[in-house]
Assembly symmetry: C2
Homo-oligomer: 306 residues x 2
């Protein structure tokens, strides 16, 4: 068997060297230099060209090079190919810290004071009392964030497509559940996987169901938001602010209206940066499992898409 | 007995009306209109003129209109006058939230990203790993902050003049203890009372004992810091940054170099704003205790000055 690294838009030299040192007896090929597509059984993929999949008659498993699998068009893959993703515990810890920090920053008006500081303007105001955080999505990252928020005095709601269980958050599911939750939301944190049913979920209709003092925090994917609808809500004071870490196009183009919008706090997709060594360890583990005929870890449900 | 409100630089109309409604049978006078200084037994003071105290032959107690008593020159008061201060539990909660938020904001580089946003610059960086917070001062506010920091994964050190006890923080005291603590400090939070021995405690000598990546967070009094020494340390990269909520002169003059300094995050003395109703309840309680000959609450130790 051989492994193919099909990650585009990134220099993979270091990644492949590290993988090879962990897997000395496995042949690891790069997309551009691949000599033997028929020998490939495992692909590590991120934004791989859609034409790739039909060239791989012996493909058995694809690992996404990230927590989401939205960079892989699952409809192009044979049904018996396993799809796995990265589950990095440090990612959940970092994400929870980012979410807590930015909810607190919105509560304590950090960006407002930062703007006032530049204008040498002294204008003390009380922090907002708002303390209800609603999460769209309640997977590993959502649960870790909920724990941290609850232990810091926030009330946490969470919405997921299918019913889930939790002792710390009030749970909602389905369309009706979403409407109920939005009405009691001070901070809406998006941590959904990107699928056809969650794409553009933060649109005019959703935004209109939020209180005017609400804040959006998006740490999932840029495509969850209809940009024009978000800007419209901010510009018409139907929303207090937004903290955005992810964008449909990254790096965010320098002429994009998000950059200079006073209601937007922007960070450059840094909420949870994978540690390369721990990611490689997990990928190598799955490659060895495949070789040994053992079940893979962190498989997704292909019908759900996450 | 009568009560005198001697708070300068502030409109006290609402305060006095609220006090009067809580204390319908007590005469409450304003400094400017006071007819009978000899009848005054209780003064509520903030930046009262120093000439006031010798006019009050029957003074029994002075309440500061704040958590600190540094606005009152204790040397001018007879020894048997009790000095009390405001101890507002909400203040401790708000202060702990401010300290946690701004430690996290420094850890996750929020100001750095704000600046990059204004420049439309996409430059992801990992959050700092630094997680040791050292507190100067370990009273109610310090303890509340330490609890919150520890429950969010920080290691907390605390320094006080006299030895104290704690199960959550590593404690230091005295000059030698201060030196030991500074060497292992990533974030130095000042929550000291302002006394002659703590004034200008954050000076060149102290700053030189901190690691270069350290950050100062001052939520006590502006006078704790030697401004020129702080600016010098920041300008020479011997300190990573400072979050300042308090200043020797407030509002901070618009030409002050703090305003536009990229290493300084400035907030307008808003870390813990007293809720007027809960403050008045506490003052009224002490006035009624004095009238009934009962011991007052929240007395300070006049020799320590806090």
């Amino acid at each position: 068997m051989s492994v193919l690294v099909a990650i585009t838009g990134r220099d993979n030299t270091k990644l492949i060297a590290k993988m090879q040192s962990q897997l000395p007896n496995i042949r690891i090929e790069q997309l551009d230099d691949c000599q033997d597509f028929a020998g490939v059984e495992f692909v590590l993929a991120w934004n791989a060209p859609t034409s790739l999949w039909q060239k791989l008659p012996n493909l058995k498993a694809v690992s996404s090079f990230g927590a989401g699998v939205d960079s892989i068009d699952l409809s192009l893959l044979p049904k018996d190919v396993e799809i796995v993703r990265i589950v990095d515990e440090q990612l959940a810890t970092d994400m929870a810290e980012y979410v807590l920090t930015h909810v607190l920053a919105q509560k304590l008006r950090l960006k407002e004071y930062y703007i006032k500081q530049q204008q040498s303007e002294w204008k003390p105001k009380r922090a907002y009392k708002y303390n209800q955080v609603s999460m769209l999505g309640f997977g590993e990252l959502g649960r870790a964030s909920a724990h941290s928020l609850v232990s810091n005095g926030f009330k946490v709601n969470a919405w997921s497509r299918t019913p889930k269980k939790s002792t710390i958050a009030t749970l909602y599911h389905g369309d009706e559940g979403l409407t109920d939750m939005l009405a009691q939301t001070d901070y809406l944190v998006c941590l959904l996987p990107l699928t056809s049913s969650t794409e553009e979920i933060i649109n005019k209709q959703l935004l209109e169901q939020l209180p005017e003092h609400a804040v959006i925090i998006n740490v999932a994917r840029g495509e969850h938001i209809v940009e024009a609808d978000l800007l419209d809500a901010l510009n018409n004071q139907r929303l207090r602010g937004a903290t955005l870490d992810v964008f449909a196009s990254e790096p965010l183009p320098s002429e994009h209206p998000y950059w200079l919008h006073p209601g937007i706090t922007l960070t450059p997709h840094c909420a949870a940066l994978s540690d390369l060594d721990s990611v490689i360890k997990q990928i190598a583990d799955n490659i060895l499992r495949l070789k040994a005929g053992e079940p893979l870890i962190n498989c997704i449900n292909k019908q759900q898409g996450y």
